[in-house]
């Protein structure tokens, strides 16, 4: 935890210009965009599916990044919001026959409300205590989904199978590719929204609270409101990610949304760099691909290999991808001067 604490508290010292520290430059953003748009044209459907999952987890990591990197609140309960989003989409699609695209904003709104409400009692807690409270939420969620009372809707332990959407307007592309571009569009929209949010008055309020709560309230910031708001926004984005995840995987079941998912997302945030939004995609790549690499090295010890790799990352680059990016930027600057 100390590395994260450090990252969170140290962040302002590094960020003389918060705008820069939060995002990539225009050139880098464009290159990234071109890469993301072009990549699926050259790979198999299976890789496209993996890339879709990459974007979806990146969204969920981004949401956590707004909460932790932005407003300085911890959460180990993101899997709960992800599950609510996934189930909202799945239930609306399968029971109400709704179009998949329409279910996403609904999932977002429901999760926003859920997160906002959860933020109320969480106000009294901070640091590790808040982390624990959210942890409780994450462990409770799979069991709540199994409750007999909801079983008619959730399918109980058996889960729900979701139909995968075809490309609209008879576009001659595969379901996977369509879903990828759909997810990419949603991701870009949410990314732009998040960047602007953090640059706005609300974003500055988040960061003021993160840096010093007392000072923030002395400046006239409604600490309670902004803290719960951060929770709501984070939960809302996670919910959209969950909905997309349900559509991509075509299946929701309580076992898909355990505490392991919440910890993975937390890991993704730390590896990507706390408070650095573009790092979300790096963190997401870490939680999707590194377990596969670990498995390739040793099947019986995949968990241990994963642990070693994670340890190396935290040890060598404690600020995650952000640190790497900054070193790279620094080197580029030097090269230009020469």
């Amino acid at each position: 935890m100390s590395a994260i604490d450090e990252a969170v508290t140290e962040a302002p010292a590094v960020e003389a210009v918060p705008k820069r520290a939060m995002t990539l430059g225009y050139g880098a953003s464009l290159a990234m965009l071109v890469l993301l748009i072009g990549a699926p044209l050259f790979v198999k459907n299976f890789i496209i599916f993996q890339l879709t999952m990459l974007l979806i987890y990146a969204l969920a990591v981004l949401a956590l990044n707004i909460l932790t990197g932005g407003s300085g609140q911890f959460s180990l309960g993101q899997s709960a919001f992800y599950a609510v989003g996934a189930y909202t989409s799945a239930i609306l699609m399968e029971h109400a026959g709704m179009n998949y695209a329409l279910t996403l904003p609904i999932a977002g709104v429901i999760c926003f409300g859920f997160g906002f409400l959860f933020g109320q009692p969480a106000l009294r807690l901070s640091g590790v205590y808040l982390a624990l409270a959210t942890f409780a939420l994450a462990t409770a969620m799979p069991q709540l989904l199994k409750l007999g009372y909801f079983e008619h809707w959730t399918g109980g332990v058996q889960g729900l199978v979701v139909t995968k959407p075809d490309a609209p307007f008879g576009l001659p592309i595969s379901q996977d590719m369509w879903l990828y571009y759909f997810t990419l569009a949603v991701t870009i929209a949410i990314y732009i929204f998040s960047v602007n949010l953090l640059r706005s008055r609300s974003g500055r309020a988040f960061m003021a609270i993160r840096d010093n709560e007392i000072a923030a309230s002395a400046m006239g910031i409604d600490v309670a409101l902004y803290k719960t708001l951060a929770f709501g926004v984070s939960a809302g984005i996670t919910g959209v990610a969950g909905g997309l995840g349900a559509i991509a995987v075509q299946f929701v079941a309580p076992d898909g949304y355990t505490i392991t998912l919440a910890i993975s997302l937390f890991l993704g945030m730390v590896v990507g760099g706390v408070g650095w939004l573009p790092g979300s995609i790096v963190g997401s790549a870490f939680i999707i691909f590194v377990p596969n690499i670990a498995e390739g090295i040793s099947k019986g010890l995949s968990g241990a290999v994963f642990g070693v790799l994670l340890f190396l990352v935290i040890f060598l680059v404690p600020h995650g991808a952000r640190q790497v990016a900054m070193v790279a930027q620094h080197l580029l600057g030097k090269l230009r001067k020469n």
Binding site: F46, I47, V249, D255, T260
Partner: protein, 409 residues
């Protein structure tokens, strides 16, 4: 003058027909889908090597060892088995990713024995739409026997519901006015089982006086058992996984509650349940089985089990023969090898599925004498027979006939 060209045409057409016939027969001899060649058959598999169900990873390792043995003995009709097994950590989204990787990237012929009800539910639709066999899934849920809607999915072990019906039948006969207390695990396994019991009891479902569920995350289930004892029940059905089954047996002895105790087959292992719980506490417990127990000395001279022990010694020496998963992995791998042998040189996905659905009285080495594997185009439940058994001394005593728990609906 006309005769010669005519003759030539006739000769030519005969040659064409002969050629077509020959190439046709050549094609009939050897037919392949993705994943099968003259030298290799690629088999995909998904197992929880990590995560909450990692204890079952042993199944994958046993299968790998078994295929190693088959390859060392010359393979199947001259083809070596290439077994590609991935970890899904018991997470459905990860299972989907791994299934797609197997089908689209590794290009396997079929996905064999993927483990877990949630993981299999997640990949069932995908594999069926791709027409890739999802063969002998490692779960006892009842829904895998549905050839009409999912012609590419097939189970292997007896379903939880059919096992539960056997207990219901037994209770109605032996203890018609018993008061039944049930403890079940709150997941797909427990619920499926409970349904089987209630369906089996039918009109007599009122015999059930109490139900308690527990979560796998609970450290102990003692309080549930005390509660159940208080209901005055004289039959206790324990629908539990090994750790909790052992706890229950111990607790029952501790609080001196002596009901007729039935343990689900999942937890009938001598090595991992009865022994830890104490032999003296387990006397008279009932269960049902379809496979031999590797820890049970009565099979020491059984020819099938001798083969099994010889296999372990040579190809998987680090295995724990007390672990039921090892016996399971061996039996299911043997069934797959049988299906592939029957498929001959016609290794298309369709033919493999057809052969899997035409097993007649096949008996892997590790099944109980009398239990046979039978499938047909309308019956995708390979094993549906079990035999009741009672624990006595340090081993299970089988009694009664081999009973079929076949679902009547």
């Amino acid at each position: 003058m006309l005769a010669r060209p005519k003759l030539r045409i006739a000769a030519f057409s005969t040659a064409v027909i002969a050629f077509a016939a020959m190439s046709g027969s050549a094609l009939a001899q050897k037919k392949y889908d993705t994943g099968a060649t003259d030298t290799e058959i690629k088999i995909g598999n998904i197992m929880p090597y990590s995560g909450p169900a990692s204890a079952y990873g042993v199944i994958g390792k046993t299968e790998e060892a078994y295929f190693k043995k088959i390859n060392a003995e010359g393979g199947i009709n001259g083809r070596k088995i290439n077994f590609v097994s991935y970890d899904d950590g018991y997470s459905p989204p990860k299972a989907v990713e791994q299934a797609r990787k197997l089908v689209e990237s590794d290009e396997v012929l079929l996905v064999f024995n993927p483990l877990g009800t949630p993981s299999n539910s997640a990949i069932q639709k995908y594999l069926n739409s791709k027409k890739v066999p999802q063969l002998f899934v490692a779960t006892g849920a009842t829904k895998w026997n549905d050839p009409k809607d999912f012609p590419w999915t097939m189970g292997w072990q007896p379903s939880y519901q059919s096992e539960a019906r056997i207990y219901a039948k037994y209770l109605m006969k032996e203890k018609p006015d018993g008061k039944i207390a049930i403890m079940y695990q709150n997941d797909d396994f427990g619920k499926d089982y409970l349904k089987g019991l209630k369906d089996g009891l039918g009109a007599k479902a009122s015999m059930i006086v109490a139900e308690e569920s527990y979560e796998t995350t609970e450290p102990t289930i003692d309080n549930h058992i005390v509660k159940l004892k208080a209901t005055g029940a004289d039959v206790f059905i324990s629908i539990t996984t090994p750790k909790f089954a052992a706890q229950a047996i111990k607790k029952l002895a501790e609080i001196e509650w002596k009901p007729l105790h039935i343990v689900s087959n999942v937890s009938a292992s001598v090595g991992s349940v009865i022994k830890p719980a104490g032999f003296e506490n387990a006397q008279g417990i009932l269960s049902a089985a379809y496979a031999k127990d590797g820890a049970d000395s009565q099979w020491d001279n059984d020819p099938g089990m001798k083969k099994f022990y010889a296999f372990l010694e040579k190809y998987y020496p680090e295995a724990n023969k007390l672990d039921g998963s090892v016996v399971y992995g061996y039996g299911v791998a043997q069934t797959l090898v049988k299906v592939l042998e029957m498929s001959g040189d016609n290794l298309t996905r369709e033919n493999v599925m057809k052969q899997a659905a035409s097993l007649k009285d096949f008996t892997p080495d590790t099944l109980l004498p009398g239990v046979k594997i039978n499938t047909s185009a309308t019956d995708f439940a390979p094993i549906s027979q079990l035999q009741m058994m009672r624990f006595k001394g340090e081993k299970w005593d089988l009694f009664g006939d081999i009973i079929s728990g076949e679902l009547s609906n």
